[in-house]
């Protein structure tokens, strides 16, 4: 079966610069930006799914929530070592189409596109591709660009090397709680920081020997692969000893039906100027962008000393979906509906 062979590669400087002053702080800020950056593209496709794709919707939502968890944990680590996540700023949001931020170097161009299986394969499975994918040879190139896993591994090493002395941040800045599947835990020292990094890596990619993360869930890459293949991944019953790791699971579980006709034909890569200045789509898009910017502002405060704002921020996130779904009912031409443009817009004009 076809598997995704591309993967997201980062600028090697991300790793080399970590040795410099403030290196760990900068690296974690990059990590926060990167964890957030996938959300608009995932959300845009998720919003477009309509009501006839509940299985795909559930899988995508589970991934989206975990991305938010990774974002929160990266913020907690940065706060724990005395840093301050910078979330409320225009360049926090990637441009679409464009590259992901955080020193992403590979050729992957990320779009805001309605859901399609091709989009899952071409973008989502590339973003989440494991460092050492099961069933594929390693990229054995000296001086190769680094992967997200390399990046987090290096952060973990730096934290271990620095030891407990760097954990100078006030524990009151730690954000905890959240809804189920978003159980954010506090980072207060080396052990919890490493636990957070392991969780981020494994939920994204799985472990080197299994598609499962430590919670027994399939990693994001494999969840997207399930969607793409149209079947749940399940373990092979009683594999004989010596079975290679990549033969221990098959995409032959319950079917994941995809109703392409149920997907809203939302326009690709919209920006606010696409919509006529006086139109329902423009007003909705303005409100969406204002609300999205409000979400960043609320998260900024949440992760800068006001952790009790978390639930309120989550509610803002939910209200984004409401606006997006309303937009995706509005035709903009004969073939497309509107969709939200995910732009930094601190006023509702």
């Amino acid at each position: 079966m076809l598997e995704q062979t591309q993967k997201l590669l980062l600028d090697p400087k991300l790793i080399s610069e970590m040795d410099g002053p403030n290196g760990l702080h900068c690296a974690l800020q990059r990590a926060i930006e990167l964890e957030h950056a996938t959300l608009p593209t995932y959300l845009y496709s998720y919003y477009s799914l309509g009501t006839s794709n509940p299985a795909i919707q559930r899988l995508m939502l589970s991934i989206i929530l975990e991305e938010m968890l990774h974002f929160a944990l990266a913020c907690n680590i940065l706060n724990a070592i005395g840093g301050s996540p910078a979330i409320d700023k225009p360049d926090f949001i990637p441009r679409f189409p464009g590259k992901l931020p955080g020193g992403v170097e590979s050729g992957l161009t990320v779009h805001l596109k309605r859901f399609s299986l091709d989009h899952v394969f071409d973008t989502f499975m590339v973003i989440e591709a494991p460092d050492e994918p099961l069933s594929f040879p390693l990229l054995a190139v000296a001086d190769r660009p680094v992967t997200i896993a390399d990046f987090y591994t290096k952060i973990a090493k730096e934290i271990e090397a620095a030891g407990p002395s760097i954990f100078t941040g006030s524990p009151t800045r730690q954000v905890t709680g959240g809804f189920p599947a978003l159980e954010i835990f506090p980072v207060t020292g080396v052990e919890s920081a490493l636990r957070a990094i392991t969780l981020i890596k494994e939920q994204g990619e799985g472990t080197t020997t299994s598609p499962l993360d430590e919670q027994g869930q399939f990693a994001h890459y494999y969840r997207f692969a399930e969607i793409w293949h149209g079947y749940r991944l399940r373990p092979v019953l009683d594999p004989p000893p010596g079975t290679p790791d990549d033969q221990k699971y098959r995409y032959d579980g319950a079917p994941i039906p995809f109703d392409a006709a149920g997907v809203s034909p939302a326009v690709s890569n919209p920006n606010s100027k696409l919509y006529c200045a006086t139109s329902q789509a423009r007003y909705l898009n303005n409100s969406f962008n204002y609300t999205y910017t409000s979400l960043l502002k609320a998260l900024h405060l949440t992760f800068n000393g006001q952790p009790s704002r978390l639930n309120s921020a989550i509610a803002v996130m939910h209200s984004l979906r409401e606006l997006a779904l309303e937009m995706m009912r509005i035709p903009v031409d004969a073939h497309h509906t509107a969709g939200p443009s995910f732009e930094y817009q601190p006023v509702n004009p």
């Binding site: 409100s287 409000s294 639930n311 509610a315 803002v316 601190p346 006023v347 509702n348």
Partner: protein, 619 residues
């Protein structure tokens, strides 16, 4: 002091009220007769769920520019004052505020809940952040007399801003003055809404015009109206919402004896020539004081003309007119004004007529807060204030009586306002030496008179003895106090079947939008969302995230729902209880009698105003 006094700023822009309309027809509350078509938009043939069944109740301030600012000395802030580039905006940290009817049978006091008001610089940075004290609209009228439906209506909101936080505003002389004027921790806010668009094919669907004012307030003053000089028109029978006989709607003025000026508020009082458009030319308007001598001869002391016709006047001033425009009032004028009625004269073709005037004696009484939600056994205290020519009216006798005339029950819907035993209150009260009186209103369980709508709605009208209906005083139909009194609800322990299922089913029916998040009619769907539901049902009333948005859940029911969501069985799920025996009759087959589809197509408030019991009686 109020929004009328300087320092004050004016703003103009759009508002959005994305209300859900399934609940606009009270019969839709009946689970037994609810059909899926009620969740669809209306068609030419069927009212269905009216014009916005997917509404989310969101209230937004959109593109509200500050159009002018008046410094304490009455002069305008310079264009270079940063306030003149600033905006009035809503929260940039929470979800949108919510616009909420009191009840399907009292839709004419819709309150805005959870509104944060900000003054922001052009980049959106907050200069002032404050919380709007939830308040309903008042004085809805036929502002665009040639229009129809909700688009013809205008109404006003007045409240105070609490919890004020200031950024560094030292660069703005105006904002510095406003900050100083807010020493009691409150500001006064007034805004008018009109031109509301209910056409779902229109680019501006669910939007309307908002023009308003923010100014000083004192904690000791009324929060929801200004105790000043009250102009009282007579309503024409031809009106839809309210048509004032002299074309000018209810309005207020205050006399500032120190500045020797009158501030007259016409923001919600002049008719417009198009939906959300400019004021109609109704003739030359001027303010005067009607002085009647011992022989009964009345002379009109001119106090200045009202220049309302100029382009941009409304957006620039929000309808605040300072008179006389070019001089101070003389001592003699002040003396006349103190004891004689103010009138607005209308000059057409050289003939002057009185367009609107204060009542004889300038007498007036108002309850400050005028919307209450009460559980059985709870007491609401009405803060009444009587004034005569704007001054405290001491030892005045105020009569209070149940008045269901403006409620919207009856017809195919359950009757409103009965039984009378739902509220207990004194029939009369006298004001003290400050013109004030407090009246306690005790709620009792109405006994489920509306079957499928919890509790009952009531209206209590406070009236000065001398202005009781029948006397020759003009009468404001909107000046009464609305109550929603809930019934008791007992469930020990609360379970799904036969207990909370009907409650959740009703919300699922009335708010189809919720299906995007969860199916409130499904036990399984609720089980999958226990944590967010516990949070949303447990929030403070003022929180824009509170469930239900409609704030129509009694304390008993809220307690039962929270207990049910929290005290789960060993499998982690709320108690299911025993399924009821299947009913023999298919409920979906029998659609209820509904309101007139014609009214429903014209708008929510338009249909509500037609359903008022006062109209049913006169039919």
């Amino acid at each position: 002091m109020s929004y009328l006094n300087p320092p004050r700023l004016h703003f103009a822009g759009k508002f959005q009220a994305a209300v859900s309309t399934v609940n606009n027809d009270p019969t839709h509350y009946n689970n037994a007769t609810f059909i899926p078509a009620y969740q669809e938009r209306q068609t030419a043939a069927a009212p269905n769920g009216w014009w916005n069944p997917r509404g989310d109740a969101n209230w937004r301030m959109i593109g509200c520019a500050i159009t002018s600012a008046v410094l304490p000395d009455g002069s305008y802030a310079a264009p270079s004052d940063p306030v003149m580039q600033s905006l009035i905006a809503d929260s940039d940290l929470t979800v949108a505020a919510k616009l909420v009817d009191l009840d399907p049978e009292q839709q004419l006091v819709s309150e805005i809940w959870g509104l944060e008001v900000r003054i922001a610089d052009p980049a959106g940075n907050t200069l002032m952040r404050a919380q709007y004290d939830a308040a309903p609209f008042m004085n809805i009228w036929d502002r665009w007399p040639l229009g129809s439906g909700d688009g013809m209506a205008g109404a006003q909101y007045q409240s105070v801003l609490n919890g004020i936080e200031w950024a560094d505003v030292s660069g703005s002389p105006f904002l510095t003055a406003l900050k100083e004027a807010a020493s009691d921790g409150v500001l006064s806010i007034k805004f008018n809404v009109d031109g509301y668009d209910t056409n779902f094919n229109s680019p501006t669907f669910t939007l309307g015009r908002v023009v308003g004012t923010i100014g000083p307030a004192q904690a000791s003053e009324p929060r929801f109206y200004t105790a000043g000089r009250q102009f009282m028109p007579k309503g024409l029978p031809s009106g839809h919402f309210f048509a004032p006989d002299g074309q000018i709607n209810f309005c207020t003025a205050v006399v500032d004896t120190t500045a020797a000026k009158i501030m007259l508020y016409l923001g919600n009082s002049l008719p417009v020539s198009s939906m959300g458009g400019a004021a109609v030319d109704i003739g030359g308007l001027s303010l005067a004081c009607a002085v009647t001598d011992a022989n009964g001869q009345t002379t009109y002391v001119p106090l200045g003309s009202i220049e309302y016709e100029s382009a941009g006047w409304y957006a620039q001033t929000a309808g605040v007119v300072t008179l006389p425009p070019d001089r101070r009032l003389t001592e003699q004028e002040l003396s006349s004004i103190a004891s004689n009625p103010l009138v607005i004269l209308k000059s057409v073709g050289g003939f002057d007529t009185i367009a609107i005037a204060e009542s004889a004696g300038g007498v007036y009484v108002r309850a400050d807060k005028y919307v209450f939600r009460l559980n059985p056994g709870e007491t609401a205290t009405l803060q009444l204030k009587a004034t005569a020519f704007g001054q405290p009216y001491n030892d005045a006798e105020i009569r209070l009586y149940l008045d269901p005339s403006q409620l919207q029950g009856g017809g195919p819907a359950p009757p409103a306002g009965t039984p009378a035993s739902g509220l207990t209150f004194p029939g009369k009260v006298f004001t003290d030496s400050t013109g004030s009186a407090q009246v306690n209103v005790l709620a009792a369980a109405p006994g489920n008179p509306r079957t499928y709508i919890d509790g009952q709605v009531y209206g209590i009208r406070p009236v000065l003895l001398e202005t009781l209906p029948g006397a020759s005083y003009n009468f404001n139909p909107w000046e009464y106090v609305s109550f929603l009194v809930w019934d008791n609800f007992q469930a020990d322990p609360p379970v799904w079947y036969g207990c909370l299922q009907p409650v959740f089913q009703q919300y699922a029916n009335l708010y189809p939008l919720m299906q995007r998040f969860l199916d409130l009619s499904s036990y399984d769907s609720i089980c999958m969302n226990l944590v967010p539901l516990r949070i949303a049902f447990g929030l403070n009333e003022s929180d824009p995230n509170l469930m239900p948005v409609t704030r129509d859940l009694s304390a008993d029911k809220r307690k039962a729902i929270l207990a049910w969501l929290t005290k789960v069985d060993p499998s982690g799920k709320p108690l299911l209880g025993t399924p009821p025996v299947a009913e023999t009759e298919s409920a979906a087959g029998q659609a209820a009698a509904k309101s007139s589809s014609l009214d429903a197509q014209k708008g929510g408030k338009f249909a509500a105003v037609k359903r008022r019991q006062v109209n049913q009686r006169s039919r």
